[in-house]
C-alpha cells in the first residue's frame, strides 16, 4: 500500500515524534536551540532552583543580540540592566555548558541571522528559540518556531516539547517580482490579505514558482514575517538553492554525512496530492512596494495607495482599531501615503539585515545623500559576518558617503532594548517587522517597508515609490 501523501510539515513532524499520547499531543524532539539574553534568564534560574541540568548543551547556542549597543563596542555597556543581561547570558552558558557568542565574538549577530549563516540551522531539523521570529529558519526547510521562557526551560532540561500538530496553510506565489519589489513586500501583502491572525494555529508553507526563484536570504525575510500573520512557523521545502546555501557553512555536515543529509533533505518536499487545511495564492508580479500605515502589520497599503477611509471599513472593530491607529500615527484618512516626511530610517533587524538586503539598499543610496530632514539613518548588519562581507564589497563606503551611520550587528532599532530608538512623535521608515505602538521607542511611529524603500526614504526624506529610482 502506498503511504498517504504528506506535507513537508508532516514529514518533519513525523520524524521528530518521541512519543504520541492518546489526547493528540506529541512529545517532539528538538534538534537545535538558540538562546538570547532577554528571554532566557528566568529559565536558567528555574533550572538552578530545581537542580536540573541541560540535557544537550551541544545542541544549544547562546548569543547576545537584543541589548547590545551598535556603536562603541569596545566600551562597557552603559545601561546597567542591559549589561547585566548580557553578562548573565555568558555566565549561564558557561555554567550549563552551552556554546556562547558574546558581544565581542567575531561571529556575533542576531540569533536568526547567525543560525543559518553558521550552518547551525539545517533543513529537516526542529529548531526553537525564545523569540517569535524563529520562524525565519523555516526558509531552509527547518521546522522552527518561537517559544516562551517556560518552554525554554523545558527544552534545556529535556531537549523536547509537548506539542499538538498545527494546521497547514499553503501560500502559493506565482509571477515575477517587478524591479524594486522584494520578499518584504510579498510578506506585507500576505499579512494585509489574511490579517495579523490569519495564520493563527497554522504553519505556513510557501510554494510555487516565485518561491523557487527567491534566494535563501529572501526566503528568510518571507518566513520571518509568518509570525506577523499569526503563524508560528513559515516553511519552504529545501531545494537546490537551499542545498547550495548550506554547503560549506562551518557547522554543516561534511563527507559521507553530507551526502546522507542531502538525500534526506530532497525527500522532504510536500507530496503531490497532500492535504492542506487552507490555501491562498498571490501573483507577486502584480505587487507594488508595500508600506504599513498603522500599528499592526496587517495595516498596509501599496506605496501608490491611500490611507483607508475608516468610516468605510465594514467591520466595526476594524474601524475602531483603524481610528486609534490613525490617531497614534498622526495620519489623515484617505490621504496618499507617498510623500509623507520621515525623520528616521532603520535598515536592519532579523527581517532585513542580510547581505542581499544591504546590497538592495546600497544600490539606491549610491551617489545620493541622506535628506536634510532625516535625523538618523542607521544601517545595522545582522551579523559580524554580514558586516565583513558588506565591507569587502564596499557597501559600507557607499552608505557612509551617503550620510548613513554604519553600525555593529544587533537588533538595534527594531526593539527598544538598546540605545537605538526612534524619538517620541517621530516617524521611522523601518525594515523591521513590527509597527506596534511604542515598539521602536515610546511614541515612535513606524512605517514598515523593504530595504530599497527604506533607502529611498532616507535619500528623499519621505516615503516614496522606489520603482522610480531603480533602473
Amino acid at each position: 500500500m502506498m503511504a498517504a501523501p504528506r506535507t513537508l510539515y508532516e514529514k518533519i513532524w513525523d520524524d521528530h515524534v518521541i512519543r504520541s499520547r492518546d489526547d493528540g499531543i506529541d512529545l517532539i524532539w528538538i534538534d537545535r536551540h538558540l538562546v538570547h539574553e532577554v528571554s532566557s534568564p528566568q529559565a536558567f534560574e528555574s533550572l538552578r532552583m530545581a537542580g536540573r541540568n541541560v540535557r544537550r548543551g551541544d545542541l544549544t547556542l547562546a548569543i547576545a543580540d537584543h541589548n547590545v549597543p551598535t556603536e562603541n563596542r569596545h566600551l562597557p555597556i552603559a545601561d546597567v540592566h542591559s549589561a547585566k543581561q548580557v553578562a548573565l547570558l555568558e555566565q549561564n552558558a558557561a555554567e550549563f555548558g552551552i556554546g556562547h557568542l558574546g558581544m565581542t565574538h567575531p561571529d556575533q549577530g542576531i540569533v536568526h541571522v547567525v543560525g543559518p549563516e553558521r550552518g547551525f540551522t539545517l533543513p529537516g531539523l526542529t529548531l526553537v528559540c525564545g523569540d517569535s521570529h524563529t520562524a525565519t529558519h523555516g526558509a531552509l526547510g527547518a521546522l522552527a518556531f518561537g517559544i516562551g521562557t517556560s518552554e525554554i526551560e523545558h527544552v534545556l532540561a529535556t531537549q523536547s516539547l509537548w506539542l499538538r500538530r498545527s494546521k497547514t496553510l499553503r501560500v502559493e506565489l506565482t509571477g515575477t517580482l517587478a524591479p524594486g519589489v522584494s520578499a518584504k513586500d510579498i510578506a506585507l501583502a500576505l499579512i494585509g490579505l489574511i490579517g495579523a491572525n490569519g495564520g493563527t494555529g497554522h504553519v505556513i508553507e510557501f510554494v510555487g514558482p516565485a518561491v523557487a526563484r527567491l534566494s535563501v536570504e529572501a526566503r528568510m525575510t518571507l518566513c520571518n514575517m509568518a509570525i506577523e500573520a499569526g503563524a508560528r512557523s513559515g516553511l519552504i521545502a529545501p531545494d537546490d538553492v537551499t542545498i547550495a546555501y548550506v554547503a560549506s557553512r562551518p557547522e554543516a555536515p561534511t563527507g559521507e554525512s553530507w551526502h546522507k543529509a542531502v538525500a534526506y533533505w530532497r525527500s522532504l518536499a510536500s507530496d503531490p496530492g497532500c492535504h492542506y487545511d487552507r490555501s491562498v495564492a498571490i501573483d507577486v508580479g502584480s505587487l507594488a512596494p508595500i508600506v504599513s500605515w498603522g500599528v499592526s502589520p496587517e495595516q498596509v497599503i501599496p506605496i501608490d495607495g491611500c490611507i483607508p477611509d475608516v468610516d468605510n471599513l465594514d467591520d466595526p472593530s476594524d474601524a475602531e482599531a483603524a481610528r486609534r491607529a490613525l490617531d497614534y500615527m498622526a495620519l489623515r484618512p484617505d490621504a496618499p501615503i507617498e510623500g509623507l516626511p520621515i525623520e528616521n530610517v532603520f535598515i536592519g533587524s532579523c527581517t532585513n539585515s542580510r547581505i542581499e538586503d544591504l546590497r538592495a539598499a546600497a544600490q539606491i543610496a549610491e551617489g545620493r545623500k541622506v535628506a536634510a530632514n532625516v535625523r538618523q539613518a542607521l544601517v545595522v548588519p545582522g551579523s559580524a559576518a554580514v558586516r565583513r562581507q558588506a565591507e569587502a564589497e564596499g557597501l559600507d563606503r557607499i552608505f557612509i558617503e551617503a550620510g548613513f551611520s554604519w553600525r555593529e550587528p544587533g537588533c538595534s532599532m527594531c526593539v527598544g532594548l538598546n540605545p537605538d530608538k526612534v524619538p517620541p512623535g517621530e516617524r521611522c521608515a523601518s525594515t523591521s517587522n513590527r509597527n506596534f505602538i511604542g515598539r521602536q521607542g515610546p511614541g515612535a511611529r513606524t512605517h514598515l517597508l523593504s530595504p530599497a524603500m527604506a533607502a529611498a526614504a532616507a535619500v528623499t526624506g519621505r516615503l516614496v515609490d522606489v520603482r522610480r529610482m531603480v533602473n
Binding site: 512519543r19 550552518g119 472593530s317
Partner: protein, 198 residues
C-alpha cells in the same frame, strides 16, 4: 503552578483587537531577570491615562480581562504573562489568542477563554455592573444577565490548569522514550549532530 477551577470576579472590559505583547509589556521591562514584580509595567502606555480602566477602584486587581481578537500577538515574551499574573489576572476572554501567548499563559496558570464576538460584546456590557463567573470544569462563562456561554479548550491545557501540573516533571518521567529516540536519531540522522564549532 496554582490550579484553576472556577473563578468569579470583576472583569476589566478592555475590548480592542490586536492587543500585542508590546502593549501588554513594553520592551524596557524585559530587562528584568526575574519573573516577579512586572505588573507595574503592564499596559504602561494605557495606564499613563489617570482615568484608565486598569487602575480604577473597581477594576484594580480584577482577575478577568475581556479583549478583542488576536490578543497577545507579537513577541514570545513570557514577561507578558508574568505581568498579567502579577496584576492579578487569572483569566482572559477574547475571540482568539496568538499561539505563543496561549502556550505561555497555561504555563502560568492563566486560563484563556475563546468566545465568539457576539458573546464578547454581551460580556463587555455586563462587565460594567456585574461579576463574571468562569467555570473550567463545566467550560462555561456566565453572569447575572448573560446566559452560560460554552467554550472549547484543548483537553491537555485544561488538565494542566485544573491540576496545576508542572510539565517538566511529566516529561522527565518519559526519559526512557527520549533516550531511545536520541539513540535512534544518532544512527539514522548522524548529520543532525553538530559537526564542529569554531
Amino acid at each position: 503552578m496554582r490550579p484553576f477551577t472556577t473563578l468569579t470576579g470583576i472583569a476589566i472590559p478592555l475590548g480592542q483587537a490586536n492587543i500585542d505583547t508590546d502593549i501588554i509589556m513594553p520592551a524596557r521591562w524585559l530587562k528584568h531577570v526575574t519573573r516577579s514584580g512586572l505588573g507595574i509595567g503592564a499596559f504602561e502606555a494605557l495606564r499613563a491615562d489617570p482615568a484608565n480602566i486598569f487602575d480604577s477602584p473597581r477594576n484594580k486587581g480584577a482577575p478577568i480581562l475581556i479583549a478583542g481578537r488576536n490578543f497577545g500577538c507579537g513577541s514570545s515574551r513570557e514577561h507578558a504573562c508574568w505581568a498579567l499574573a502579577d496584576l492579578g489576572v487569572r483569566c482572559i476572554i477574547a475571540p482568539d489568542f496568538a499561539d505563543i501567548f496561549a502556550g505561555n499563559a497555561v504555563k502560568n496558570g492563566i486560563l484563556l477563554v475563546e468566545l465568539p464576538e457576539a458573546a464578547i460584546a454581551q460580556l463587555l456590557r455586563a462587565a460594567a455592573s456585574e461579576e463574571i463567573t468562569v467555570d473550567l470544569h463545566a467550560q462555561t462563562v456566565t453572569s447575572a444577565s448573560v446566559a452560560p456561554q460554552s467554550f472549547n479548550i484543548d483537553p491537555f491545557r485544561r488538565k494542566c490548569l485544573l491540576e496545576g501540573l508542572d510539565d517538566i516533571d511529566l516529561t522527565l518521567a518519559e526519559a526512557d522514550y527520549i533516550d531511545m529516540f536520541e539513540a535512534k536519531r544518532a544512527e539514522t540522522r548522524p548529520w543532525a549532530e553538530i559537526q564542529a564549532r569554531q
